[in-house]
Subunit: 142 residues, 2 copies
DNA sequence: GATACAAGCTACAGCAGATAGAGGTTCAAG
DNA sequence: CTTGAACCTCTATCTGCTGTAGCTTGTATC
């Protein structure tokens, strides 16, 4: 039986985060000692590791929930899991595209400023007026 | 004098968001009509456009606050503004790097799955075990 | 068995950066 | 003067945690 701190150390997840995952139903409710402390099995550790690794790969908690459900039914087809992963890949690709456009603009404005007074600052000039930009960048940057 | 909806339309910012910017002190408190509705000058429109454009380029509201302060004092050196932009560029570059590593892993796991049962799904296999990954990807993916 | 103290517990607040809705009021055109 | 779109405030919600306060439990050592 593992204490929550052990799960925390072995998966690199903060203790509060593990409790949070339980609260939102991503982790099963843990068993408790007589005094009320959580105790876990190895399978709980595995589940937490799955969650953490999926998070590191950028999956949302909702997607992870689906993936865990699928993972619990080994006889099913994995088409669903694959499509979640493909969707995630697509999102990552879109984000990279957006960021590359931002990078281009930022690079240009930084390069073009001679570092004189604010009144002639190219950086601020571009920020004031999108017409100074070469690319479109709709939506809010992230 | 411009109503809030006009600012909203002309900058592509939701009305609630403009009020939110006022609440957090990013926009100045607007003047009001006798009946309590906000009314703006052209300079407020400019300020909002600056904020929105900066957001589109990925700057945080805190950075934008600094940039606006600088922009209001045209006689200063622009070194500060430039360094904020360089910091932003750096952040964007880091994010691109992380996302490219994620993309690589996602692409590989999607490609390697034959689409059979969950039990043999490569996607789920990788998620279960980071040892299957080729790259490191610490921190949580975004 | 007593004691110390690390590690656990709950409950709640807060972060960024908005966005949505309820329920009521004002403005401006016709 | 009436209509109705646009405005108002206030509160709640979202994602994914993280931090704090104040208290209790578990365990190692004496
Ligand atoms: Zn400059
Ligand atoms: Zn632009
Ligand atoms: Zn598969
Ligand atoms: Zn991995």
């Amino acid at each position: 039986m593992l204490a929550i701190g052990t799960l925390s150390r072995r998966t690199g997840t903060k203790v509060q985060t593990i409790r949070y995952y339980e609260e939102i139903g991503l982790m099963n409710e843990a068993g408790r000692t007589a005094g009320g402390q959580r105790r876990y099995f190895e399978k709980d550790l595995d589940r937490l590791a799955f969650i953490r690794h999926s998070r590191q790969l950028g999956f949302s908690l909702d997607s992870i929930r689906e993936l865990l459900d699928l993972s619990d039914n080994p006889s099913q087809s994995c088409a669903e899991a694959d499509s979640i992963a493909r969707r995630q890949l697509h999102q990552v690709e879109q984000r990279i595209k957006r960021l590359q456009a931002l990078k281009k603009e930022l690079k240009r404005m930084v390069a073009e400023c001679d570092g004189d007074s604010v009144a002639e600052c190219k950086v601020l000039e571009v920020l004031r007026d999108h017409a100074e930009c070469l690319t479109e960048h709709d939506g809010i940057g992230a």
